[in-house]
Amino acid sequence: MIHTLTELREFVTQGVLVTDVDLNILTWNYWLEIHTGHPSAEVIGRNLLELYPELAERGYDEVYRQVLAGEFVMLAHRFHKYLLPMPAPGAGAGVFPYMQQTARIAPLKREGLVSGTMTIIEDVTERVAREAELVRQVTALQTLQEIDQAILTLELDECLDRIAQGAARLADAPLATVAIMENDRIILAPGQGNVPPVIEPELLQRTAVKRAINSGEAVIINDLHALPQAERPEPLDPDSRSLAAIPLLVNGAGVGALLVESAQAGAFDRHRQELLATLATRAAVAIDNARLHQSLRRSEEQYRQLVETAQEGVWAVNTRSMTTFVNRRMAEIVAASPEEMVGRPVVDYVAEDEIEFAEAVFRRRPLGKPERFDIRLKRQDGSQVWVNISVASLFDESGQYVGHFGMVNDISERKEAEARLQASEERLRLLVEYLPEGVLLLDSEETILLANATASDYLPLLGAAGEIGGKLPQLGGQPLAEIVAATATGGWLELAWGGESGPIFQVAGRLLPAADVSRYLLVLRDVTHESQLERQLRQQERLAAVGQLAAGIAHDFNNIVASIILYTELMLLEKPPGAKTNERLTTIHRQAERAAHLVRQILDFSRQSIIQHKPVDLTLLVEEVVTLLARTMPANVRLEFAHDNDHYFVSGDAGRLEQALLNLAVNAQEAMPEGGTIRLGLSLYEPEEAEKALLPEMQPGSWIKLEFSDTGPGIPAEVLPHIFEPFFTTKSPAESTGLGLSQVYGIVRQHGGHLVAANLPGGGALFTIYLPFLAVGGVEQGLQAGLQETPHVAPASPPVSLLLVEDDPVLRQVLLEMFSEGAYKVLAAGDGREALQLFAEHGDEIEVVLTDLVMPDMNGLNLYQMLQRQAPELKVVLMSGYPINDETQALIEQERLHWLQKPFTVEQLAEKIRPEKE
């Protein structure tokens, strides 16, 4: 057993030392013999503290006392380094002065009592060295890692500085820097120690840095002094003994070097070289990154400046359409600040009614197709602004859509200008479109560029197609070129198409010169209506001139005719009937009457006749005329009168109206030599406003329409416009004077009416007379006035005192002779003054005054007025062969004056001068 234990002690690789309670050595194993150099034979039995006096000096005697007191003691190497001094073995020899030991000391017990101690010593030298190496490696790794982290900065200067600091730490060196080649100089990072900012070119070739960069290999010199002067590179610090320059390689090219210097020789062992090399590799990457970042940042800065100073708004948006960036201009456009906009949804700045459109754009963005559109944005203050946006999408390296950005232009002004232009164009378009004249724009190829509605309506009437884009070679049968040439100097050209009754147009043309192409502007005016009116007006003027002429001679002519008629009548009364002379006198009388009638017709036509306006029942009048005609017309002429039994009243002169109808009847009968039917019709006509065009002068209101038609051949078209002209006749002058229809026209016009001649579709002529309808009140008044007048028809039986005033001596003589034949007491005066004198002398006797109207000095009317003052009840009859003025007409109508148209017959005279009162 003991033998075995002894063997075990010898076998183990630890020192085993056993003592008794007095610390005398009992066992000293082989391991101890080897490492202490003391053979066991030499030490067994010796006291431990005596053998190793230093144990007591280092206080271990106390430890042994503790053990002897029963405690177990552990001595850790870290605290104690060693228990018994022994030389360090193997690799530890150069590092440690003694073998590093861990010891355990335990009490040895026998029967419960401590009998000695046992010390076990373990050699931990190698382990400690390994642990130290491990710690060093871990520390280096940690340092590298820290440096790695530190140099990850993208600030180049800071990065260089941290690399230098890290190198100093890794190499435990006082001086370290990073040298960077820049042109022909080397820039140095401040790093660690006294580092100049640059290495000047003249020194450059002699530095280790240059050599390292050029060769791409590390320059390590562990003792500068050992090198010959010529080969010795120049250190930064003259006191440096060791130096390491490690190139920094980016893609195999040296961009700089790591330079570390130490005042101690041999500062750069293999381990440090490796660490520095590792650091250099990482540093090169870090420097490259930092440089890249710097240039990137520089270019980013340029872009940023570009974007910030851009005249366009720039608006970047992420995938959720939130604003990630806007430049100052963009913010300005929506009256916000960039800070306010970033982080807010784009739609916050889009006009409400545009949001849907904007969202549709967002949905299309991942497809990537660029778009450009106009949209209204909402400004911060709620107002709106028109912008034009060009949108492009952004994609990352993997093609993933990451957002989009827009280039934004404020186009409010343009939009406003557009709107103004549009409004102005619209106004012009409307103006042109609704112009009552046709407007055509043509190019030099005669192509219609523009045609307003009126022009489109007119063109077919001028035998041209009005298609826009179509050609217009002619207009109204005239080549366009001629029209353009004819109107080039201004003025209007008249165009007619479709014959006499076809429309008439006026056209004005203008050449619109332009830089590239000339254009023609044509303006079309429908003057059909105006032409007709003008024609009518001309005709009326002609008629009026004839009337004027007739009226001018009427007075003298009538005096002459009156003398002839009256003398003829007197002669007929004197001569015994049946004689040949009698027959001749009768012929003279008839011819004189025809002459009188002729003048009458002319005066009627020229509306210079005296019309006595009284309510006339036209129905009754027409019936009377029809009855009269039925008696006088040939048997082959039938008469029909259609009316609805109403009584149609007009204000007028029944005699003149009757005359008009008789003239029409004569005209009809002459048109139907073989016989036929004359139809008369009466009806009420109430034209609407729109129908005014049919009869341009006709006022709206109630009219009585009197139609008079025959079944003859009708009126030839070329004759129709002239039929109312006086002396116009298709017959020989012997057959007709050509005054019948002119007289009808004049009578109708003098009644305020209208006369229209036309042809019936089935043949025959139709004359339509429109007369103003007389309201019921006017009718009653007039009828009463008429009734008062009716009883005076009987011839005068007692002699009548008469004052005759006539300036024409022949006529005065005729009249005096006439009155002397009858029961008249006549006083004659040659003028008004004489008449007044006679009246002053014989006023009491004079019952009736018969006076000529037109006299020198004092005319008939003046005379009447003078007499009126003296004898208001006196009856005054005015004679005239000349038309009367309005004043006289008014007096006649008031029935204060009596009127006798020259020439007159004896019967007519007798009728007029019959006194008012019996």
Binding site: F72, M74, H77, R78, V124
Partner: protein, 200 residues
């Protein structure tokens, strides 16, 4: 078994004495001023140990364990969490480069420190009880807390208690906390309490 306040105070006083001796030894050893804070003492059933320790540490723990026998017998251990163990090693050895792991040298350091502390406490108890106590070789164990608790709570014929002492090492400006745990059978504990009662 419940101890009254007086008994606990007496125990604390005893441990204070032992700690003062340990602190002195450690100060001598390291050349630094090391203090051990006035400990808080608890007595609990071994079954409560897991819960109590669980509040203090989790994951891996470092324990220096020593069995003792004689007049009283039991199991003594200094328990530190892993980080505390590492830090204490660095503090005591004055190591400036902080180690990432507990290497063999560090384990030896912890073993020696634990040995000093446990020797002091158990020695004090032995003196009090006037009994001789034998110690086993101290061992450092690195283990998960659950594993440790399992080995400690292995059923035994005797009901066992733990004397639970919260311990703080103060070195320079730093401090490391741990627990000193002495597990005793009911008989040993009664003996100890009786002895402390006599002190009073």
């Amino acid at each position: 078994m419940n101890l009254n306040e007086q008994q606990l105070d007496a125990l604390a006083e005893l441990i204070n004495i032992a700690f003062a001796r340990s602190a002195s030894s450690l100060s001598d050893l390291t050349g630094q001023r090391i203090t051990l804070a006035v400990p808080e003492v608890k007595v609990c059933s071994i079954h409560e140990l897991g819960t109590l320790l669980g509040e203090f540490v989790e994951g891996e723990v470092a324990t220096v364990q020593q069995f003792f026998s004689g007049g009283v017998a039991g199991h003594a251990l200094l328990l530190l969490n892993r980080e505390g163990a590492r830090l204490l090693t660095d503090l005591l050895t004055g190591d400036t480069s902080p180690s990432r792991q507990i290497d063999a040298s560090a384990a030896e350091v912890l073993t020696e420190v634990g040995n000093i502390l446990l020797n002091a406490c158990l020695g004090t108890f032995g003196n009090l009880l006037k009994m001789h106590i034998s110690f086993s070789v101290p061992h450092l164990h690195l283990d998960a807390l659950e594993g440790l608790i399992r080995t400690l709570v292995i059923a035994d014929e005797e009901i066992r208690y733990a004397l639970f002492v919260y311990t703080t090492f103060q070195v320079k400006d730093s401090s490391v906390s741990g627990y000193l745990v002495i597990i005793l059978g009911v008989t040993s504990l009664e003996k100890l309490i009786e002895a402390t009662d006599r002190l009073g």
